[in-house]
């Protein structure tokens, strides 16, 4: 239970950070000219000043910035994320509706990247400087260098437009009403291209890290000892090397959870997925402060919980870490 204590302490330490981020975000957004009523006017294509005045009162934008921030923080204390001006619903509801696609996308992209990164990294390390290594490393470099939106669009052109194998976007086929297994398969089909698009860049990172740390661990003394004991090469890799080489990979998952949320903005736009990333983008464009702050809050919680899981995994992989704390 030491691990849990460590994780809880970290959770407590992240609370002030969270508040600072929220306040900073609030003030940063004030620097952008225009408010939600201006965005609304743009959408309406016109309107008069009296109407704008009335709407500002309606959305609580007629008081000063300090008062607005104060109101927000007070509400947050009671875990009330406020009301969304764009959606006309409580922010918590809006976010809950948009959370599943993002989480699903993150999990599938992360597992895809982690699994294939691991396998390719191991293969590359075991065939170091031979053709499989060269091929894998080159591919990794290409994936890493390629902008994900471009890859996404190219994947759409090839797999949706020309081959017509996979849908070009959306989270399900709305012209049909599927249930049960069919619905799950339908969602899975829609997630293939977005997962590839979001996952490839992370795959490239994982495979490079895995290759490097495998090579490092392979040169350590205990590996030589294991080989000297007469263990087969597969056993050495599986039992001794892999476990140790995986530590940096797991660290990276925690660090990249935030990056992945950022990357999902692009992927969700390209594939028109109704996720949190696109919601964040829309709330900035429409100056929906409450929703944006709510997303920041929920994303922070998400990243904190992923790191919590990583901490536990860490302790499992290397018992010294839990002991040291």
């Amino acid at each position: 239970m030491r691990v849990l204590g460590l994780a809880l302490r970290r959770l407590a330490a992240s609370l002030p950070t969270l508040l600072l981020i929220l306040a900073g975000m609030f003030l940063l957004l004030q620097l952008a000219p225009g408010d939600t009523v201006d965005a609304l006017m743009a959408q309406m294509g016109g309107g008069d000043a009296a109407l704008a005045e009335e709407l500002r009162r309606f959305y609580g934008l007629d008081v000063g910035i300090a008062a607005q921030l104060g109101r927000y923080m007070l509400r947050l204390l009671t875990l009330d994320l406020g009301f969304s001006a764009i959606y006309g619903k409580p922010v918590a509801t809006v976010i809950l509706e948009r959370l599943p696609p993002t989480i699903l996308l993150m999990i599938s992209a992360l597992s895809f990247a982690f699994f294939f990164g691991l396998v390719l990294g191991v293969v590359a390390a075991r065939r170091v400087n031979r053709w499989p290594d060269t091929l894998i490393s080159t591919l990794g470099l290409i994936f890493y260098a390629m902008p994900s939106f471009w890859f996404g669009l190219m994947a759409i052109v090839v797999f949706s437009v020309y081959l017509q194998w996979l849908p070009a976007g959306g989270f399900g086929d709305i012209t049909q009403s599927y249930t049960g297994i069919a619905a799950v398969l339908d969602t899975a089909r829609h997630l293939v291209l977005p997962t590839l698009t979001l996952g490839l860049i992370f795959l490239a990172i994982y495979l490079r890290i895995m290759r490097a740390s495998m090579l490092e661990v392979l040169s350590l003394d205990f590996v030589r000892t294991a080989r000297a004991k007469g263990l087969s090469e597969t056993r050495v890799v599986a039992r001794h090397v892999l476990r140790n080489a995986m530590l940096p990979m797991v660290t990276l998952i925690g660090l990249q959870a935030g990056t992945m949320l950022g990357g999902s903005v692009v992927v969700e736009s390209v594939f028109s997925l109704p996720g949190l990333g696109r919601l964040a983008y829309e709330s900035v464009v429409q100056r929906d402060l409450n929703t944006l702050l709510g997303i920041v809050f929920v994303s922070a919680l998400l990243v904190i919980s992923i790191n919590f899981i990583v901490d536990i995994l860490y302790a499992r992989l290397d018992p010294r870490i839990a002991a040291e704390s």
């Binding site: 201006d38 016109g46 759409i156 976007g169």
Partner: protein, 530 residues
């Protein structure tokens, strides 16, 4: 085998001569799902509260207006069957269609029209508040008659032309209690239209299905209409190609994609069906800057821009040079006599700037200006860069300030913190609906797309006011010709490019584009070929 007989040849020849419009005589097929590109999500879907194409694309299928436009662009009854106006223009009577029910089964009556007109059109609806500001009351002598009473003359032509956009009716029994703006029916609309609202998944799709009790017998033909929210232009083009989308309205694809898809036999890229949605590109001058208050400078700027070159190289076939605030498709109000124009003439521009006392200084620069382009549409961004480069040729340094929608509106129309601004003006069938407000002085600060340039001209204000209450159509037309001549002479703002919105249709859609505001209209007669 022998060739076709003489009779067969004749028939084939005749078939080839039938114009495309006669294709509509194929027997309509019932069924099918029409998937539509929905580029910008809307806060509400109720066209009685928000007049914008984004709302009509969805709400216009579910709710109906008193009138719509027919293929020739003339008002045709929808919820109103007939109408008459008193000669003084103070009373307008609409006889309403009988036997129409709301989607929840309640009957449609004149009380709905009265409620919507007084509480929504007059108080909340953008443009409606201006149009209906002198509406005193709507009387309902019986359940199928609505009499509109005005305190100042309302020209019948103006009212009828405004109704297709500003005349959508909402059910009184749903909206009469509580705050109208917060009513859940604003995002789950209840109407009398051919399609019933089913579901709105934010960020994903909106679904509407066939209304089995629609008052037009055996219509609509489609089972469902599904709007897919696709914000990314490239992604939307790909979905058109993969068949996930069948229709993309209002120029929502990139210019290059609209042209490319237009060359593909499966699609049609066309301005057909958008004649009622014309927009002009604007160049707005801030008169609070003394340099721009000088008419010679404004004319010099206009003369420095090679509009035909820009259109040919950047906008392609979907645009043409504009001649003033009233576009050429407005057959009722487009002036018949030539109006002052500003052709491309760098020598004249330089001469005018010299005359105005702005000699070239260091590096050949006369003075600097800030240009705020509106963030809607690729063409505005291109136009801004074109202005910047063209004006540098005559010694005017231009700094382009790019902002998003909220930032642009605040900076230009509320803070007046600009020298030049550029965006779209949308013409809505009659100059009094949304055009003259760009020129009429005395507009309150912060109202977008109104005269926020600091320009005042008592003469033009007078013409605008007289034309808005002139009941004689001939005199009205003459007044608008005066208006165009005056503003083209004074150049408070310039509208040099005329564009009609582009629709991209999958050719399976039939009866597509058969009225001038098709993308916004009800699609009761639309069907899909298999």
């Amino acid at each position: 085998m022998t060739g076709p007989t003489r009779r067969e040849t004749f028939l084939l020849g005749a078939a080839a001569m039938i114009p495309a419009s006669a294709m509509a005589q194929e027997t309509p097929r019932r069924g099918g799902v029409l998937t539509v590109h929905f580029a910008t999500e809307q806060r509400i879907l109720n066209p009685s509260l928000q007049a914008s194409t984004g709302v009509y694309i969805v709400g216009g299928k579910i709710q109906e207006a008193l009138l719509d436009l027919d293929a020739q662009g003339n008002p045709v009854g929808v919820l109103a069957e007939s109408w008459e106006s008193a000669p003084d223009g103070l009373t307008h009577t609409f006889r309403l269609r009988r036997g129409v029910t709301w989607h929840d089964g309640k009957p449609f009556t004149s009380a709905d029209v009265q409620f919507t007109a007084m509480e929504m059109w007059k108080k909340i609806l953008n443009y409606g508040t201006t149009l209906q500001q002198f509406l005193e009351a709507v009387e309902t002598p019986d359940a199928h008659t609505a009499v509109f009473r005005y305190s100042r003359p309302m020209p019948q032509g103006l009212l009828l032309r405004a109704m297709p956009d500003l005349g959508y009716v909402s059910p009184k029994h749903i909206f009469e209690t509580g705050d109208i703006r917060q009513n859940p029916a604003n995002t789950a609309p209840i109407g009398t239209g051919p399609f019933k609202f089913v579901q709105y998944e934010r960020g994903q799709h909106i679904i509407a299905e066939r209304n089995p009790n629609y008052w037009r017998n055996n219509m609509p033909y489609l089972d469902r209409v599904v709007w897919r929210v696709v914000g990314d232009r490239a992604a939307a083009a790909a979905q058109m190609e993969s068949g996930q989308l069948l229709f993309s309205p209002y120029s929502a694809l990139s210019i290059a994609d609209m042209q490319r898809l237009g060359r593909d036999p499966r699609f049609e890229s066309t301005t057909r069906g958008n004649e009622g949605n014309v927009r002009t590109n604007t160049l707005e001058f801030n008169f609070r800057n003394p340099i721009l208050a000088d008419i010679r400078v404004r004319k010099a700027i206009a003369h420095s821009l090679n509009v035909p070159f820009f259109i040919e190289n950047f906008l392609g076939p979907f645009a043409k040079p504009g001649t003033g605030p009233i576009p050429s498709v407005s057959t009722d109000y487009y002036p018949t006599t030539p109006m002052p124009q500003y052709g491309f003439d760098v020598a004249a521009a330089n001469r005018l700037l010299d005359e105005a006392g702005h000699r070239r200084g260091a590096g050949g620069v006369r003075f600097s200006l800030r240009l705020n382009p509106a963030p809607w549409g690729e063409d505005i961004a291109l136009w801004a860069t074109f202005i910047q480069q063209s004006l540098s040729q005559v010694g005017i340094r231009v700094e382009v300030v790019r902002l998003d929608a909220a930032g642009f509106l605040r900076t230009v129309y509320n803070d007046w913190n600009f020298d030049l601004a550029s965006g779209w003006h949308q013409y809505r069938s009659d100059p009094a609906v949304s055009t003259t407000v760009w020129y009429r002085s005395g507009s309150p600060r912060g109202a977008p797309w109104t005269n926020q340039w600091g320009w005042t001209d008592a003469n033009i204000d007078g013409i605008i006011d007289n034309a808005a209450t002139e009941v004689d159509p001939v005199k009205r037309k003459a007044l608008y010709a005066d208006f165009v001549r005056s503003v083209q002479t004074e150049l408070p703002l310039w509208m040099p490019i005329e564009q009609i919105f582009v629709s991209v249709f999958n050719r399976r859609i039939r009866n597509a584009g058969n009225n001038p505001r098709w993308a916004s209209s009800s699609w009761h007669d639309t069907w899909l070929a298999s």
